[in-house]
Symmetry: C2
Subunit: 393 residues, 2 copies
């Protein structure tokens, strides 16, 4: 391969897929500030602020709240490898791609995995989870995805966390796509370990995974019989670096500039306010829905469990969905997501996350989608999507 | 804690510690470019270029060459968990902090660990390594640190990799501090797995770990009996994402903007040329040395194994080294590194890495250090350091 000796000049996209979402110019600009050392007193101060801002976003007073120095899947693995030991049993609810990934994490931690499966596109059923606890009283952990990015479905995190407590198990909650977009009430739910990602409703660039652990989770980590299998993800070591006070124990070199970006994005969330951010995601989702339904398109998920920030929309019969996405990207710079696994070819995933969740984007996306579907002679109603969305705004 | 609702405004530092080094404005500016999706065709092109530029930096044609989406310690762990299985035996050479961390990695992978220890400040002794192979013919792996960041010592990577081959073992080489600053000749050495960090002589912000694996290492990964214990670091999955061609399998969301930055920093290294970069590190190290020695200061490491980019300098008798570092930071914005472990309080670590390795920084550092040591009445010669460095430039 010939190396092209040129700086990379990325096109300006409109990111309306399953993440990353558009990164706000304030966050991009924070990223580019001068790098300081990871033990610099000013950086220690920044870490304290990131922690406080994450506590606010997670609605928790958990002391062990931090950003894992890796993407969401590193945050996920941090939860599993710290809370499980070989021989433990975990119940994992699977209703999409990310539940399946949890199962991989459980098994690679040497623990036994009891699956509670649900059709993709439906929420986790608490009754089935309860049956699993009854059949497996030895289970020490329940893991589930709050907002399934692969299907656009919300599960009832509060009920599921309560079930885990009822059966003396800890809970691990995947809040990658939910944090900032819909309520994630860690203390109210009494969730034990929750992980998220920087690149969804927080609208920071990808690469960091906010996590939070309850006192019960910390107690389980402290009382482990053997070391965590991962040195990099071992919270007993990471805690020393993110711990309170100016005396930090060096563990690894933090991703300094990435944390500048996360700090700025969390600040923007705090400035807007959590409730206002949830309301914005809801309002613009309803506008998008009005436009899509006016065209005659429908959703995969039932209204009762539908995520506002991740819209899984059924592809009309006979339409090559990949062609539509390719043309949307090429002609308008709009990125939509494809279906995964059993949903490949059957749905589009339209993200309305964080800085991508704007009225302008809703109208742009509807207009472009209508144009492309019309060009492919899809059986849709035309000329109605944008007015319907406008009426709902 | 009260949340201070302000953007973070980092001070402009001169980073002359053990890393991160100063990040060049070109790299900071690349970081701030608009985020695209991790499956965007333009981003796939960027990943191909990053791979080609890393092959150039590592002097290798290894196909499995990529940037791990985490800091150097995640790159280290990626090497160990993929190449080791429970029941294997690994020989680990320890002559500083990072060799000790390797031991942790071996043990947490379920493998047995044979240590070859050396005094901190000395290079790994190939004779001792050979004795270990003779005593442990079952060893399947040799791991060592090429450039020990905790002591400023270079070990003879070529001889050590050859020893590993002689005894039918694979080699893992820590090149975190060496890549870009001194020769790292992966193919010439026939090294099997080499990891580095973005924030040392590449002068990118921290958070990424370049890695490369020989065909023999890939063969060992392919012939594993059991899955890699880490899902996030499992190269059999990561390979599908970084693999050749446009068809990428989604594994995790890549840290898009961080890879913009790494691309730019590797481009700058390619523009300067590897040999020119090594020569610059050597020349400025010699100027720094001339100044330090003129003051009467000495080095921890013998000249034969001394790293140009990481200068471990003995603290004069009776001087509170932390006070000197604090004053250098406060008055001049210069960050120096402290000694670790048995060297705490005994050495400073002066980094001359990547964009921090300039003649201006050498003169500034010498001038400031002379001023602070004079203020503390250290027994040094004054007025000679800067002229001596100038003469050596």
């Amino acid at each position: 391969m010939t190396i092209s000796l040129k700086s990379f000049d990325p096109p300006k996209r409109v990111l309306m897929g399953p993440g990353p979402s558009d990164v706000h110019p304030r966050v991009l600009s924070a990223l580019a500030r001068p790098t300081v050392g990871h033990l610099d007193p000013t950086f220690i101060g920044l870490m304290d602020e990131v922690k406080a801002l994450l506590q606010l976003a997670f609605m928790t007073s958990n002391d062990l709240t931090l950003a894992v120095s890796g993407p969401g899947s590193a945050g996920m693995e941090t939860c599993f490898v710290n809370l499980l030991e070989p021989g433990d049993t975990a119940i994992v609810a699977v209703n999409g791609v990310f539940g399946k990934r949890m199962k991989e994490n459980v098994e690679r931690s040497g623990a036994g995995c009891v699956l509670v499966e649900e059709e993709w596109g439906k929420p986790v059923d608490p009754d089935k989870v309860e049956s699993a606890f009854k059949a497996h009283p030895e289970a020490r952990l329940l893991a589930f995805v709050h907002a399934e990015t692969s299907t656009g479905v919300e599960s009832d995190a509060k009920s599921l966390c309560a079930l885990a407590r009822q059966y003396d198990a800890l809970s691990i909650v995947d809040a990658v796509t939910s944090l900032g977009g819909i309520p994630v009430k860690v203390d109210d739910w009494r969730a034990d370990a929750v992980y998220s990602g920087s690149q969804k409703c927080l609208s920071c660039m990808p690469g960091l995974s906010p996590v939070t652990f309850s006192p019960d989770a910390v107690e389980r980590i402290r009382s482990r019989n053997r070391k965590v299998q991962s040195w990099f993800m071992d919270l007993s070591l990471v805690m020393g670096y993110w711990g309170a006070g100016a005396k930090r124990a060096y563990h690894h070199t933090a991703p300094i500039n990435a944390l500048y970006g996360l700090h700025e994005s969390l600040l923007m969330l705090a400035e807007e306010g959590l409730e206002a951010s949830w309301a914005r995601h809801k309002r613009l989702h309803l506008a998008l829905r009005a436009g899509l339904e006016a065209m005659g398109l429908s959703f995969l998920a039932a209204e009762s469990c539908r995520l506002p920030q991740l819209n899984a929309v059924m592809v009309p019969e006979g339409i090559d969905e990949a062609k539509v996405r390719a043309r949307m990207l090429e002609r308008f710079g709009i990125e939509l997501g494809a279906g995964l696994g059993p949903l490949a070819g059957k749905i589009w995933r339209i993200g309305l996350m964080g800085a991508s969740c704007t009225a302008n984007n809703v109208l742009l996306c509807l207009g472009a989608l209508e144009a492309e579907l019309t060009a492919l002679q899809a059986p849709i109603r035309t000329g109605v999507a944008v007015p319907a969305a406008m009426a709902a705004l």
